[in-house]
Symmetry: C2
Subunit: 321 residues, 2 copies
């Protein structure tokens, strides 16, 4: 199977909003009038971002989903992606499943795969995603204002708990039932980027980020870019019943504060928009928790139910720290 | 050194035509009115595309240059790039040199680095480049017409000869002098994408491709996309004096026909544009050779000086063939 056979069989699908797609030196696209193009890149490496023997469908889904999540965090409509993939060898079953997962995500979010590269090497997947946002409206990290509420979508920590389970690193005192393990692994392997939420927030939020490295680290980026401080309450963080029940356990706290791989949105918005945000939560059937507030100063404080400061360990994932 | 330190120190430089650059979930750019966005991705893997111990300056230059070359082949002005890089470990000297080479190329072609990803893994560099072309004007692979001339810029085969030299695979009967070795290694390590030529051809050429995998393979893409055939003459192919002298040697023929890594442009244009193309060649101080013609049918014939068909071996580089 040649490089070109692989591209044709596994990575060429009809495009819906692309002038020229896979197969030339470059793809051609039109950016709508009055919109800015948003561009983001994420690279996933075997045994760094996923186990090399993970289900290829999941690797395909997640490779695109983590990029789609970056569009959501900018309040941008994802539209186009390129895929560069290095493969140690050609395994048609693996490629077929990878492609199925990738395009399942692409179809869900109406993203055209418009180009890329296929080469030999240690398994590595690099996706660049492009989307559109009305000019001047993108939700940036530097827009948080003193007095803003801090909101977090969905639930935190399940993906990290799933990963700890897979690595046999979960403390023996935690007994996860099979259904909850399944739920955590679903969160880890097939994250659901919050595109509809991101788009709905365009005129409501001041700043946003997606939680990929862990809440402390990612909210920290908003704080430093916006030159503000924040306080959040542990008990207000959105999480599953299991995590709520064990919220005072260190390992569980690490999962929700610094576990990463959540792909939920953390955003700040003025208090006057509370009811509008709650309405969006209802409409999207997506929990959105009011977890804290932005204030003057710098840095992040996490308070427990007794208003004592939670001692923070690792704040998030850093590949080289 | 953390991931964020690496990004700040080595991969954050002032942007010139970008609304929001490195440091948020996505970059923000404006595409000029009346233009299409061109998008292309190339991935370079250690010991597949370059020796792992190659000079990091050259790896940086080439990572971007091969992508810029794809813009040239579409008659597109390169403007923005993202860089995803997996590193086995942090080596500040290596990173500093890689960054210097990457930005030397970026500055030469006025490309803003607008985002990317930095992660741990076997050395892998994935660049996505974006550019602008007047709407409807891109030079595609499917535009070649019967009767078109086939033109090739610069010189072919030097990079492949340099690679054969480095791998000690050059037949012992070929004696390269030190100056010529230097010239071949320069072609291999620091290719010069033909952006000015690509832009100048916008209204003159019918189709174009950059020669990255080898002339036979790349011109073959134009032929199959355009549903035409072609004949080229070996003696008309542009090449160095050394290669001309040994043009009947099989290994030398392989270098110019199927060596790859040339990053010259191969394009087709109607005969009426000959003098305009020769004028561009003069203005750019860049040789452009008229090497053959497009005719009805399919496939590519290469003729030697006696008008005999040259027996073709490997047609180009395929990572999985």
């Amino acid at each position: 199977m040649s490089e070109f056979d692989i591209i044709k069989q596994f990575f060429t699908r009809p495009a819906h909003h692309t002038n020229l797609s896979v197969g030339d030196d470059a793809a051609l696209i039109n950016v709508s009038k009055g919109y800015e193009l948003t561009v983001s890149t994420d690279m996933l490496v075997a045994d760094t971002h996923f186990f090399h023997d993970a289900a290829p469908y999941d690797i395909g889904w997640k490779s695109l989903a983590v990029n789609v999540s970056d569009m959501a965090a900018m309040s941008s409509q994802p539209k186009w992606a390129t895929l560069a993939i290095a493969l140690p060898h050609v395994n048609e079953t693996w490629l077929s499943e990878f492609s199925r997962g990738f395009f399942a995500c692409a179809n869900t979010f109406n993203v055209d795969l418009i180009g890329g590269d296929t080469t030999r090497g240690p398994l590595n997947i690099s996706v660049t995603i492009m989307g559109e946002v009305p000019a001047g409206k993108a939700l940036r990290r530097d827009g948080a204002k003193v007095g803003d509420d801090i909101w977090i979508s969905g639930a935190l920590g399940d993906a990290a708990l799933g990963l700890a389970h897979l690595k046999n690193k979960l403390h023996s005192k935690f007994n996860l039932d099979d259904g909850y393990i399944e739920y955590c692994l679903e969160a880890l392997h097939r994250p659901q980027p919050r595109v509809a939420l991101g788009l709905a927030l365009v005129d409501l939020a001041h700043s946003a980020i997606d939680i990929s490295d862990g809440l402390l680290s990612d909210l920290g980026h908003i704080l430093s870019a916006s030159k503000v401080g924040a306080t959040i309450q542990l008990s207000k963080l959105p999480c599953s019943l299991f995590i709520s029940k064990h919220i005072n356990e260190k390992q569980i706290q690490q999962c929700i504060l610094a576990g990463g791989d959540d792909y939920e949105l953390c955003f700040t918005a003025p208090q006057k928009n509370r009811s509008a945000i709650e309405k969006i939560s209802d409409e999207l059937h997506l929990p959105i928790a009011l977890a804290g507030n932005i204030h003057a100063g710098a840095g992040l404080v996490v308070l427990d139910e007794n208003k004592h400061k939670v001692i923070l360990g690792k704040t998030g994932y850093d590949h080289f720290a």
